[in-house]
């Protein structure tokens, strides 16, 4: 299975977000979509998931235009974890994850659905919290519940919009390691929108860097996140260092009096 978008354009009313954008996604890979705020990263992911209708171009899933695929079938193939959940009426963690079985369910929850939910809870170390209302969870736990729900869809391709932005260091690594495992051991395609370029560098097989005119660069993290590219897209100077088995971008801050004092 393969997924791609072919020369798609999207606009909010008259404001074009991107035009003629082509991006491919491979199974077994973790792909990061990066770029400045407001450049259309989340929009691109939503176009991929058929949540937004593209203005021009086609999104393909396995050679088939995504708009021609039945909603339930699409729901069994593509998982989506939004940047922020907006639950109004609280439900238990178990019920939240069970929602992911919706594309498979008629009305009654089968034994198999329960087994899948429980194995996911177990895998994400959420079993202890199964009966807790989700509104009482911490940000990191909420994020894991959202991922668990998406996994309950048993998707081949999983999209996550900034999955680490609200998490502490520990949870960031936990979530990224899990995503890495899903790509490596289960041959799923994982697509994440990321702001943290170092995290993206460390965990991605492939990165897309979006700029003002659509796609600016793509490829392996080391080829995309170069000093020149960062300067062009983000307008800041970075220094690149190799440490602890990874490659890190360190932004160079114009030294002010205050920073000097601290250091």
């Amino acid at each position: 299975m393969k997924m791609s978008c072919d020369r798609i354009s999207f606009a909010y009313g008259d404001n074009s977000v991107f035009e003629d954008l082509s991006v491919g996604i491979e199974l077994g890979q973790l792909t990061s979509i990066t770029g400045p705020n407001g450049i259309g990263k989340s929009t691109l992911v939503k176009c991929f998931c058929n949540l937004y209708k593209v203005r021009a171009g086609i999104v393909y899933l396995d050679g088939q235009a995504i708009t021609t695929i039945a909603p339930d079938e699409l729901a069994r193939t593509l998982g989506y974890v939004p940047q922020k959940e907006e639950t109004v009426f609280s439900i238990s963690v178990y019920e939240a994850v069970l929602l992911g079985r919706r594309p498979y369910l008629k009305w009654k929850v089968q034994q198999r659905d329960q087994e899948i939910v429980e194995s996911i809870l177990d895998r994400l170390k959420l079993t202890e919290l199964a009966e807790r209302p989700i509104t009482t969870l911490s940000g990191g736990e909420r994020q894991k519940v959202a991922i668990a729900r998406a996994l309950a869809q048993e998707p081949t391709i999983l999209f996550l919009d900034e999955p680490t932005s609200n998490l502490d260091l520990n949870h960031q690594l936990e979530v990224m390691t899990l995503l890495r495992e899903l790509a490596d051991h289960e041959q799923r395609a994982i697509v994440v929108v990321m702001h943290d370029l170092n995290l993206a560098s460390r965990f991605s097989d492939r990165v897309y860097l979006l700029g003002q005119n659509g796609l600016f660069a793509q490829g392996k993290p080391a080829d995309v996140f170069t000093r020149e590219n960062i300067k062009k897209i983000y307008g800041i100077e970075v220094e690149i260092i190799n440490a602890a088995g990874g490659r890190y971008l360190i932004p160079i801050v114009k030294t002010t009096q205050r920073v000097k004092e601290i250091s």
Binding site: N50, L51, P82, E85, T87
Partner: protein, 356 residues
Amino acid sequence: MKESIYAGLVARRILLLVGLLITLVLGMLYSVTLGFAEISIADVYGLILQKLTGIGDRQYSILSAGIILQIRLPRVFLAIIAGISLGTNGAIMQSLLKNPLASPYTLGISSGAACGAAVAIVAGNSLFGSTNMLHWDSWLTIIGAFAMGLLTILLINIIASLKKSGASTLILAGVALSYLFSAGISFFKYIADHEQLQQLTLWLMGGLYRAEWLDVLLLTPIMGLAVLYILRRAWDINALNAGEEVAANLGINVQRLRKQGSIVAAFLTSVVVAFTGIIGFIGLVAPHISRMIVGNDNRFLILASGLTGGIFLLLADTAARIIIDPVELPVGIITALCGAPFFLYMLLKRRREYWS
């Protein structure tokens, strides 16, 4: 050991639903024994049993039989059906609009129906005179209220289609329509004569005093179908609670769900309101009581909210019948009187578990 998480959740909720059902039945059995006419409890049940089974040859007075079989029983049933309808509609509107303050009346159905009733009362009274008040007039009011309820749904629908709308657009459209219809109601109040005004005021306060078996026969299948439809959509409504985009990713056409769901709920509300007048607070409070009892899974919540609404309206109507002997209070006064303080209490004491 593992399967017990889900099995436990479900078992607990089914037990709670059964508890609510038993409460409703007990309430019903108690309610038929109460009233101005002094008929002993033994006579009440004896009469009903005899009528149901055809066994026994005891002669009851025609008056007692009439009071129990033609006045109290249909009224008890109408209270239950109207309560169930308002309760389920409240639950589904809150979920569809993602708003804990939504009720069956949020989209302006009540104001629309009230305006229709006002037209019917004022115009109908002039047309037919007030001589056969119980029949022609009351049916005209029902038809007027129902027709205007439908018109409200149509207007909401048009507004929803004009703009690819979210929940807040629908709510605001409902507010705007309510004001529009309120102007209509005020106008008809202004031109109404004394008797018409009294009739209209009574209708606006809501009441089940005109209940007859025909009402029950008409409302039951409509309520049944609507509740079935809503239950069939329970999973979709659950998914909507996690956000519109999550729901869409789970294979749900959110726009269609919201549109169909609110049309079904609004249709049922207009039918009920046409027969009972505007009975407030049940549709708002019953879902919240139920959320506390069975949680927010709509597969259970919808039924629980219906049962709670049925119990609430049955008790309120029974109180309305007997509280000031021999005068009857409009039930809307009682539901608001009990519902409003309770709602305030919930607002102040609410816990994050129920809604955020």
